[in-house]
Amino acid sequence: MDLVLTTFLKMAFMLAVILGLVPVLIWAERKGSAYIQDRTGPNRAGIAGIRLAGLIHPIADVLKLLFKEDVRPAGVHRVMYALAPFLVFFIALLTYAVIPFGDYLEVGGRRIPLVVADLDVGILYVLAIASLGTYGIVMGGWASNNKYTFLGAVRSTSQMISYEISMGLALMGLLLVSESLRLTDVVAGQGQLLWGFLPRWGVVIQPLGAILFMTAAFAETNRNPFDLPEGESELVSGYHLEYSSMKFALFFMAEYTNLVVASALIATLYFGGWNIPWLPRAVIEARAGGLLSLLLAAHVAICALAAALFLRRASRERGRFGDGRDREPGLMAGVSILLGLAGLAALALRPWEIGPAGASLLATVLQVGAFVGKVVFFCWFFIWVRWTLPRFRYDQLMHLGWKVMLPLALANLVVTAVVVALV
Amino acid sequence: MVKLTIDGRELEFAAGTSLFEACRVARGEALPHFCYHPDLSVAGVCRLCQVEVEGMPKLTIACNTSVREGMVVHTRSERVRRAAQQILEMHLINHPVDCPICDQAGECGLQDQYMNYGLYESEVSISDKVNKAKVQVIGPRVVLDKERCVLCSRCVRFCDEVTRTGELGIFNRGDRAEIGVAPGRQLDNAYSLNTVDICPVGALTSLDFRFKKRVWLLRSTPSICHGCATGCNVRVDHEAGTVYRLKPRRNPAVNGSWMCDEGRDTYRELHAASRLSEPLLRRDGELRAATWPEAWAALAGAAGRELPPGAAVVSPRQSLEEIALFAHLAAALGVPAAAIGGGPREADRGEGDDLLRSADLAPNRAALGWLGLQEPAGADLAARVRAAKGAVLVYGADPAADAPGWREAVAGRTVIHLGTHRNATAEAADIVIPLSAWAERDGLFVNRQGRVQASRRAIARPGLAQEDWRFLADWLAAAGAAEVPASLPELRRWVAGRVTALAGVDLAVLPPEGLVPDAVAAGSGGES
């Protein structure tokens, strides 16, 4: 019973994080691309003038997509056409089951491992599920009865096949080092230090493997520079061209969900997962009081800074728009002040006298926070790359996959095997 | 024959040829001119056509000079050019140059001439031009703008020499000279719009065409007028499926450069509200729109029930090919030969005269005779139709209006009307088939001289209307006939083979002035 309950809670947490990240990512994509291109980006949609720098736009988008007409073109394969977006989205979510997002949570003396399903073939599961995602795309592209969508689907498949191999080979190098297929083991192994000062992260001991894996991950998620299945300029948006309304929204969300999966995998396999470098759990628990006080103090300081900035803006831009938008800086300053006051109140509770149960909880929270932080960074990295690099031409894509990455992955595997055998 | 040199080319002309025409041949284009007109007397007033003749001290006007043996003429020398420029400059001194609102713009002699001989940097410009009356309605069809007139006197000569009515004259002298109608009169002869055609500028404009369309937007199709048996050659000016005006086309053998005013109105029937644009079938006592498949089913039904025997009537307004094919179709459907004919022969309703207009308003009556079809007058037609039992086919004619006793004769029988307008016969018919009006199809017409002339398709048919010969051929095929023409040329060959008058004539290559078959020319002696 307990197992079921905790599993459900963990799943709920994972889902909340992922689905919560999707709108944020969409926002980051828009705002980030705007800032990269010296634009302002979304800043219009607002609720009573509160715009949160464009964060309200995803809400407006969702509402729009919800109420849009669901157009189904003539000649589609009805079942597959309807099924495809669900499949894509569902498969995107499946991978999370095996990704550990923290060490353990200590509740009433029992330690609950923070992973939904700690499979001993975790990595194989990841590979298996990741390649399933293409099925949804192929179904959608084929069932839409449109040559553009079909071309998009075909591209997606061949791209998947080409990069899946390098990805698997790159992972095998890592497996040789970590000596386990279980993701929790892989993560735990990265908590140690190499030669006493370097975190023993995957990227440190398998640098080539990390690069190959990340490149393949870009390809598998159809993100620029590998977004040929969408190819707006030649395929007028590719496999989801014929989808509208919520079906399109599912494709759209699946893309970002995949982004989060890929980021989580990269973080887990090569960047230490939930490990905080040089700050193992034992240290956190020993110094819990001091750490917490420090964090709270930092929080108060940041809030104060934010409040000051917002107040300055409020006084400078008084009456700039002549509507609800004028209230925004003042309101934000108020919220910052309130948050700061909350931090102060927490400081008044003498956080430096925290007990052992609290210390363990703090360690767990920090570790989960580290994991989420890494995931968010890699999500941003995906976005950042998309707005920096141009799209590959199709022959370049194939060339890179088969003639560059595959030999490199093989070489990496052989070298790793030899080194592991010798050491 | 006289030999002379024009612009370095040695050419031969018949004695008495005007130098103007000789220059037209030599140059490939006419000399600049306003007052010269091949079908009017020579006035020599505009002085634009001056050429240099060696041995003459001054330039001379070509229109009033005849060719002489050994003449050496220059039409493109600098002196000639300069003269034309100066004459134009003079014409423009008091000209209003209101081209934007002038209906002539685009086909204006002054504009065309100026493009070639303009000075552009004007040497004479005065701010107080002589003002004269504008927008004067001088007759039921013509508007005069005295300011724009270049006093070429073509219009005056037309009224004096062609119609001999003499309504117009030039009044006053010098820069006050102006065209006007004689006091108490109007320009109301039956050919008044020809003055508008020959006016080289926008001084005379047509009340009907005025402001309807800018002329440069119009497309022209050569055709013939369907207003009467004369068959004047015309140009159908149309744009985007609408005909805007008819203009005479020069054919010295038929109409010279002219046509009558009534004939110009015939374009209106093409766009009348009563045009048929879809098949109509009588259902529950009322004519209702139907589709072609429904119409074909109705035709087959009527043919099965009431043909043979039946009766068939065709109008002399249809083309030669159509009349022949229709008669053939009627025979194929089982109509007895005695019950196939034209008609109803109307008393000549036109106001004939000795110039162009025929009293006979049917453009193709001669063709009926060529095809051996009789044309009974109204009451006789009704009697003949009454005698023949079964369905009645009416093609193009309107016997319900023109033949007394028609309604009684066809009472209780199926009437099939093939036509273009919702006339009285169509209203009383059971099956109405929409076909093409005269400007919407090609066809051959035989005028009162026995001259075969081609009428050409200018615009598209309205709605579901069909091309006549194609419909007739389709019906012929549906009736199981062996010989069905597959194209218009094929149909023409077939017609030529059946008409004795056309023996040995190739209808595919008619000369521009039309063709009077030798048999006809010898037999009739020709009335023209």
């Binding site: 980030g32 800032y35 990269i36 291109q37 010296d38 634009r39 302002t40 690069i211 728009f321 950042w384 790359v385 707005w387 920096t388 690099l389 | 209101d98 081209c99 934007p100 609102i101 713009a105 009356a133 504008k134 927008v135 005025r210 402001f211 309807k212 800018r214 440069w216 937007l217």
Partner: protein, 165 residues
């Protein structure tokens, strides 16, 4: 722009062919833009339309208007020069007789299909009467049906932002 620009088919150095270094250089460039824009939000060239508008040159061709005579009737004489010149074939004029013989011709109707118009200004240039102008400066047109972009004489006569000129 610093750095080498390669023509098509140009030789790349080994470093460039390894991609990674170049990719990180590119990432550096883009992140610099992000940081600069984050720190100086006010400096962005974006125009906050519709609160702010770019100033257009007085020669800018905006929506058309028809000029009036002193008595308020259209200056246009329905000569069709504009509709003849129009490459988009979007001016539709029906002429009528003007009661004053000195004017003679006037437009009974004058319609422009603004959706077909390509704002080339040829109509303006063709007009012998300076009756049609495109100097309203209006460029942001919106309507909820195509029919509303098919504007008539009344609209064009009263469609002006600067009174009479």
């Amino acid at each position: 722009m610093k750095g080498k620009v390669h023509g098509y088919g140009g030789k790349m150095t080994l470093g460039e062919r390894l991609y990674l270094g170049e990719i990180f250089r590119g990432l550096g460039i883009t992140i610099r833009h992000v940081i600069r824009n984050l720190l100086h939000t006010g400096d962005m060239p974006t125009v906050q339309y519709p609160e702010e508008r770019r100033a257009y040159s007085p020669r800018f061709r905006g929506r058309h208007r028809l000029m009036k005579r002193e008595d308020g009737t259209p200056r246009c004489v329905a000569c069709m020069m504009c509709s003849t010149a129009c490459p988009a074939d979007c001016i539709h004029i029906v002429a009528e007789e003007h009661p004053d013989p000195a004017i003679e011709k006037a437009p009974a109707s004058f319609e422009i299909d603004l959706l077909r118009c390509v704002y080339c200004g040829l109509c303006e240039e063709a007009c012998p009467c300076d009756a049609i102008r495109m100097d309203t400066g209006i460029y942001d047109m919106a309507a909820d049906s195509r029919a509303k972009f098919y504007v008539d004489k009344e609209f064009l006569l009263n469609n002006t932002t600067d009174g009479t000129r």
